[in-house]
């Protein structure tokens, strides 16, 4: 089965700024793919490239077996797109918006739409401009889900919404999980942990990883090593000699060393750590929640880029 979304070396430059660089990912059909990353990491740019709102500077993207740069007209019948920044026709009432959208979609499910309207408690006769942000997002959701699209693309859909609205929207998405592929970007790591089957992490336009949630959880471990005596503080340097590159966010506190193992593959990884610390009094491996994984990765990336900048400055200064 072809993936619902596939990108290869996708890049987007705005002048000299690379918003996205060499992004390759695949989203299997039926997956709930969460794209995470800090502000300005390139999440919205990637989504806009997938939706043919922007044109790529490099690479390619295929969405539902079609070249994303040719996505138009009928190609959107199978795609439901909602963005936090989307400009809706605010002069319309909720009812008019749904009535207007319906004829565009041959598979519009009137009953499902009515159920969503009821579930979201949407006032059909109110103009969109008179609604709160949360209500407008609900209306946008109904208009994007009512035709049971094969692919649902959501750009920061829950940003700034109260928890109740968020849960309602997530429930409506879960109702379509399985029959639709869902691709969403989000800041909120806690909520996507319960929702996503796949996850991708963007950092400064680069995709650091893209994989199934279960694999991700399995390969990250928070490792705590207790030694008989205190070690040098230099050991926490990311480039400290002797520390494998798969160990990140290394922290030293007296005789205790903590780091995140990013390629934890059971006994082999345990053996590797044990060999690195033969005098260790104890070594503890803790599974990590998604939030902790991302924080560790983000911190590690930041340290690496600072180090790279420092090295570059040093090279410049050296006669």
């Amino acid at each position: 089965m072809n993936p619902a979304i596939r990108t290869e070396n996708l890049g987007k430059h705005f002048g000299r700024t690379a918003a996205l660089d060499g992004v390759s990912l695949a989203v299997p059909e039926g997956a709930i793919y969460a794209l995470v990353g800090r502000n300005g990491a390139g999440k919205t740019t990637l989504i806009k490239l997938l939706m043919n709102i922007l044109r790529p500077s490099a690479g390619s993207a295929r969405v539902l077996d079609a070249d994303a740069t040719r996505l138009a007209g009928k190609g959107f019948r199978g795609i439901g797109y909602v963005s936090e920044n989307q400009e809706l026709p605010n002069w319309m009432t909720v009812g008019a918006l749904l009535d207007f959208c319906r004829p565009f979609y041959p598979h519009w499910d009137r009953e499902f739409a009515e159920r969503l309207v009821e579930q979201f408690d949407l006032p059909l006769k109110r103009q969109l401009r008179q609604l709160s942000r949360g209500m407008r997002m609900k209306a946008a959701f109904v208009s994007a889900l009512a035709y049971r699209p094969r692919l649902i693309v959501l750009d920061e859909p829950f940003s700034g919404l109260d928890p109740l609205v968020r849960d309602e929207l997530i429930d409506s998405l879960l109702e379509l999980a399985g029959e639709s592929t869902i691709f969403l970007s989000s800041h909120d790591l806690a909520e996507i942990e319960s929702l996503a089957s796949h996850v991708g992490y963007l950092e400064e336009g680069h995709l650091l990883f893209s994989e199934e949630m279960s694999t991700l959880s399995a390969r990250f471990r928070d490792v705590t090593v207790t030694l008989p005596e205190a070690v040098s503080a230099r050991a926490d340097s990311p480039a400290a000699p002797g520390i494998p590159s798969v160990w990140i966010d290394v922290q030293v506190s007296g005789p205790v060393i903590r780091f995140v193992h990013t390629q934890f593959e059971g006994e082999a990884a345990e053996r590797q750590v044990a060999e690195a610390f033969p005098a260790a009094l104890s070594i503890v491996y803790d599974p990590m929640p998604l939030r902790a994984i991302f924080l560790a990765v983000a911190k590690s990336q930041r340290n690496l880029s600072r180090l790279a900048q420092a090295n570059a400055s040093a090279r410049t200064v050296k006669p």
Partner: protein, 533 residues
């Protein structure tokens, strides 16, 4: 088709206020325009004229507003619009917008024009080609507006862009006016003045390309650049069409032996007649009164025509001077506008010289003024011949000249005696082919018998129209013009020695319409010409 109608009906629901405003403006214009036509006594104020003036402004504004709101309903600029990730098919979206413009702008415009024609006494069905051609011409307003709306994100930005374009246009005009351009001064920059159909085609094509590009691909930057190039293309078209290329194409050289072509006789070559000559034409700097005399020198040439056949009329459309000194470089100018008419048969008792004036750079004048020069003048002439004529007694009030105009005589009463101070006419969709109107003015009060041919009276004559072949001109409503004007001593005077000259009711009026016979180039060479003469 379903999607087209679906989007169309959405736009109708959304824009009902703007649409009603636009339709009301069109209806008001159709109603008030005939009422604003000048008629009746001269001193009677016509209150409808001010209303018509206001509606004349309101109408294009309402169209602009409607077009902007329509196109911005599915705005093409930006990446946050709801509709761009919906199954809109661009040809259908564009068709829906086109349908809206056709139904709520073009159709009302057509109806408004037809209603005004009808009110003026013309059957609109007889003017269908003209009405359709006028729709094409009014697209010169609508297409750029649609194009602009498609490259702007909202009404305010569009309005600011229009204002900027007007400002740039005014600056360009003021910069180009009276700037030396090769060997000619002044550059015509109006689509009507130059380029004609080519300019219309350029504007419509560029705007269409912008609109299609935006709807098909939303390439805002490219579309903006393309739209920005339109004025440059129009300027280039006008320039190309205004230069000698246009004259050389449209005026065929006449053989020197062709006796049917009038002979232009410069004052310098007129021998003994010079003493009896009467020169009509500009005095002082004439057409160049605002010129900087430190940079430019005005040269005047007086000439008359010989060989004008009775009933013929020769228009000097353009002339091209070249001054060649015995030693040194020749000064060759481009075609200059002529604006003179020769319609008097050769008559030694009625020698009438007319003046052609042109400018040359002051530096060239200083270089050439002391030299013996050879002046070569090329002429572009149009020969016209009387084709139709109407004769009727001048009456007070409104009257029709069949197939030509709907007219109103403006009457005036002086010491209880009625006379006509002018005749204003409305012409269907365009000015008529070249038409001359002649009437005799009575010397003395109008209670005397009206002037008759042979009376000791003064003729008054006005020419109107041109030889354009287009069935309509650019604009809204009827073309208007003055056919007769009683101005010579027509105003009241308390000096009893001055006998007023009047256009009196009952005076025979002769309207002659000309047809173009041919356009020819001819020329004359003046040896031993001196600039100081």
């Amino acid at each position: 088709m379903k999607q087209i109608l679906h989007i169309f009906s959405k736009d109708v629901r959304r824009l009902w206020i703007e649409t009603l405003l636009s339709l009301a403006a069109a209806a008001l214009f159709a109603w008030v325009t005939p009422k604003s036509w000048q008629s009746g006594p001269i001193l009677l104020q016509n209150p409808y004229q001010e209303i018509a003036g206001l509606v004349y402004l309101l109408l294009p504004l309402s169209w602009g507003l409607l077009i902007a709101r329509l196109i911005h309903g599915e705005v093409m600029v930006g990446d946050r619009q709801f509709w761009i990730t919906r199954p809109y098919e661009w040809p259908k979206l564009l068709a829906a917008k086109a349908l809206f413009v056709a139904v709520f702008i073009y159709l009302p415009f057509l109806s408004m024009e037809a209603a005004i024609l009808l009110e003026a006494g013309f059957n609109p069905l007889s003017y269908i080609p003209g009405l359709l051609y006028r729709l094409l011409l009014i697209s010169l307003v609508f297409f750029p507006l649609i194009g602009l709306a498609s490259v702007t994100s909202n009404l305010v930005r569009m309005a600011l862009t229009i204002l900027s374009i007007f400002a740039a246009y005014i600056i360009a005009l003021s910069t180009l006016a009276f700037r030396h351009n090769g060997n000619s001064i002044g550059v015509s920059f109006s689509p009507a003045a130059a380029g004609g159909n080519v300019t219309v085609a350029v504007v419509l094509l560029v705007c269409s390309a912008v609109i299609v590009l935006q709807y098909a691909r939303r390439r805002v930057l490219v579309a903006r650049l393309l739209l920005g190039s339109a004025p440059i293309l129009v300027f280039l078209t006008s320039w190309v069409c205004n230069t000698s290329l246009s004259v050389d194409r449209n005026y065929s050289p006449a053989a020197q032996t062709d006796a049917s072509v009038i002979r232009m006789i410069p004052f310098e070559q007129d021998g003994e007649r010079r003493a009896a000559a009467h020169i009509w034409g500009s005095s002082g700097n004439g057409n160049f009164s605002n010129i900087d005399s430190k940079k430019w020198a005005v040269i005047k040439i007086s000439l008359r025509a010989s060989g004008v056949a009775a009933g013929d009329r020769w228009q000097l459309d353009a002339f091209r001077p070249a001054l060649t000194p015995a030693n040194g470089a020749a000064l060759k100018l481009n075609w200059q506008p002529g604006q003179q008419v020769f319609d008097t048969p050769d008559d030694s008792n009625a020698l009438s010289y007319k003046t052609l004036d042109f400018v040359i750079p002051r530096a060239d004048f200083e270089r050439l003024k002391s030299s013996q020069l050879t002046l070569r003048l090329d002429f572009a002439l149009t020969q016209a011949r009387s084709a139709r004529s109407w004769q009727f007694p001048l009456t007070k009030g409104d009257f029709m000249i069949p197939d030509l105009a709907s007219c109103s005589a403006i009457d005036n009463r002086e010491q209880g005696v009625l006379h006509i101070s002018g005749v204003f006419c409305r012409f269907p969709l365009r000015m008529p082919p070249l038409t001359t109107v002649t009437a005799l003015q009575t010397r003395g009060p109008c209670e005397l018998a009206p002037a008759q041919p042979g009376d000791p009276s003064l003729p008054t004559s006005i020419s109107i129209g041109d030889f354009g072949t287009a069935p309509a001109s650019f604009g809204i409503s009827m073309e208007q013009g003055q056919l007769l004007n009683n101005t010579i001593f027509g105003s009241s005077t308390s000096d009893p020695k001055i006998v007023p000259i009047r256009l009196c009711p009952g005076t025979p009026v002769v309207v002659t319409q000309y047809r173009k016979v041919r356009a020819v180039q001819t020329g004359v060479t003046i040896e031993n010409f001196r600039l100081g003469d």
